[in-house]
């Protein structure tokens, strides 16, 4: 027979555990992806609205973030594979000094997808970036579907699943 105090204790325990765990869910957002214009590599202007109609994967990254660096070559592969199908990768670097990021990019295997420099963290704030890296999936209509926090090897499978289903729309 399950005692009352057992149930009470279990309920209290789960409630407290939920306090640790629930904030993770707050990371998903929805609604229209906030518009922005930023400077890109070589001073070129980058505007999110120019990609309307395509599936956009926005990746917030920094050179000082290990998992971000680890993820970069995989993002390039994904970009090259799905670009012909109406997909674009958009890297948003969050460092105050864009020159440092450009210097780092110059030393890596070439990254061909557009990279924008959010030197004043305006876009990071708009998207409520809650972890580094953060990846936002925006559909063809310009709405945010999923926000993924962090990167661990194997996460690229989550990305591919999401991209494929969004491309079908």
């Amino acid at each position: 027979m399950i005692q009352a105090r057992t149930v009470k204790g279990l309920a209290k325990g789960l409630a407290l555990a939920a306090a640790f765990v629930l904030p993770a869910f707050a990371a998903s957002s929805s609604g229209p992806a906030p518009a922005f214009q930023l400077s890109g590599r070589g001073g070129k202007a980058i505007d999110l609205s120019q990609y309307r109609g395509q599936v956009v994967m926005i990746n917030f990254w920094a050179t000082w973030c290990g998992p971000c660096r680890q993820e970069m070559p995989l993002l390039e592969d994904i970009y090259k594979k799905y670009k012909p199908m109406g997909f674009t990768m958009l890297g948003v670097n969050v460092e105050p000094d864009s020159k440092a990021a450009e210097a780092w990019l110059a030393k890596q295997k070439p990254v061909s997808f557009p990279i924008a420099f959010d030197t004043e963290s305006k876009v990071s704030k708009m998207y409520k970036v809650a972890g580094m890296p953060s990846t936002v999936f925006v559909d063809r209509k310009g709405n945010i579907r999923i926000m993924h926090k962090g990167y661990k090897p194997g996460d690229e499978n989550i990305y591919l699943t999401q991209i494929r289903s969004m491309l079908k729309e």
Binding site: R5, G9, L10, K12, G13, F20, V21, A130, G150
Partner: protein, 413 residues
């Protein structure tokens, strides 16, 4: 407060189910959180301590490697080669050489925002064997701005005594003692601004068993001009509390300044204050080549209260149940100043080497004792009396200076 908790059975079940609840929740949300394992690295150190008649040198080797995404293993092998003619040894024994070997193994397991660590240390020398086990948990919270940690350490030590039989150093078969040490610590680390981090720690250590040196003697007045010696007598428990706070601040031109303070007190009456200030200055792509990191550090230690049963010279033999003459338990202050230089490099031919470092560090330590006298002025050195012996208790206060050099190479992969 503690009796309230003890009497309320609800609290105990509450905690039990918190653990069950948390485990369930963690299982339901794979990857809801993730922390970061420590970096993979290998370090090889050569050190040399020279001071107060004691020379200790040796190698230390550390390798840390992660296995998969959740586990990191570290192993350390360390050898102390001691050549001792310290002031205590000079006034009561003959110089000795000894070697201490220490090996340790630890495992870190990362699960969500928590890291669980388990480790074992084994230390061996001809007259002392120490086995220590430690376990700790650390957890990131509040948007990774706060880290809390708990650690438990337990040591089991065997104490022997060396004697010379026929010119050969062996363990005295009639002497075998034990001591046990337990420690519990709580730590909290808090990011204050994007340039400032604060960290605090509180540690309780309890020792039980044979706590003195088998070799050291205390001295006492036989009469105003002559002294005798007898073995030390220590209590068989010692319980200590230490609380420290440290801060590190990032300077806008890319450098870091840090400071720490520790307060220590124990049941033997010892009170110690430790303060340290450090400065780290990196120099990337210096005009004269390469990537450098320079470091300077000053540490001040004040032992303001000696052990209750410590005296440089006791009024008479068998003065008290407990008597000590270990200068470690005396009243003194010590200043240690250090400088270090690190050269950082990458090798094109070895892309798996994220970075390599060559490091050199020099520290100079000076200790001034307020109530420990240099008994060589009355007792002589290694049984050879001094030409003009001082009366006991009138010898100059002892001073110690030491040079500490470290040369180490680190590889990150």
């Amino acid at each position: 407060m503690s009796s309230y908790l003890a009497s309320t059975r609800v609290s105990r079940f509450f905690i039990k189910y918190l653990v069950v609840g948390a485990t369930l929740a963690a299982a339901l949300l794979p990857g809801a959180r993730a922390g970061v394992l420590p970096e993979d690295r290998a370090d090889l150190l050569y050190f040399r301590y020279d001071g107060g008649g004691v020379t200790i040198n040796g190698p230390s080797m550390l390798v840390r490697k992660s296995i998969g995404e959740h586990v990191s293993v570290a192993a350390n092998y360390y050898v102390d080669m001691v050549s001792s003619a310290s002031v205590d040894v000079e006034t009561s024994a003959s110089p000795y050489d000894d070697e201490r070997t220490q090996s340790s193994l630890s495992v870190d397991f990362l699960h969500g925002k928590s890291t669980y660590s388990l480790g074992y240390v084994n230390s061996d020398e001809s007259d002392y064997q120490a086995k220590t086990m430690f376990a700790s948990v650390s957890h990131d919270m509040f948007g990774d701005l706060t880290t809390i940690s708990f650690a438990y350490k337990r040591g089991q030590n065997d104490v022997f005594r060396n004697v010379k039989i026929g010119g050969v150093k062996v363990n005295d078969p009639t002497f075998a003692e034990e001591m046990e040490s337990k420690s519990f610590s709580v730590g909290i680390s808090q990011i204050i601004t994007k340039n400032l981090i604060l960290s605090g720690q509180y540690e309780v250590i309890t020792d039980e068993g044979f706590l003195r040196s088998p070799y050291r003697s205390v001295r006492f007045f036989i009469d105003p001009v002559s002294q005798g010696q007898q073995p030390e007598q220590y209590p068989n428990t010692r319980s200590s509390n230490a609380a420290s706070i440290r801060a590190k601040y990032f300077l806008p031109y890319r450098a870091a300044i840090d400071t720490m303070y520790r307060f220590y007190t124990d049941t033997w009456g010892v009170i110690g204050h430790t303060g340290e200030v450090g400065y780290v200055h990196p120099l990337d792509n210096a005009k004269w080549g390469g990537s450098w990191i320079f470091e300077g550090r000053v540490r001040y230690y004040m032992q303001t209260n000696p052990a209750d049963f410590y005296m440089d010279i006791f009024p008479r033999a068998d003065f008290a149940n407990f008597m000590a003459r270990d200068k470690e338990l005396a009243t003194y202050n010590a200043i240690t100043a250090g400088v270090g230089a690190t050269y950082e490099f990458k090798i094109e031919r070895f892309p798996w080497l994220t970075k390599g470092q060559i490091n050199l560090r020099y520290d100079y330590m000076t200790v001034n004792y307020d109530d420990f006298r240099d008994a060589r002025f009355s007792l002589g050195s290694f049984g050879v009396p001094p030409p003009e012996p001082f009366a006991p208790g009138t010898e100059p206060l002892y001073k110690l200076n030491a040079n500490i050099i470290q040369f180490y190479v680190s590889a990150f992969f």
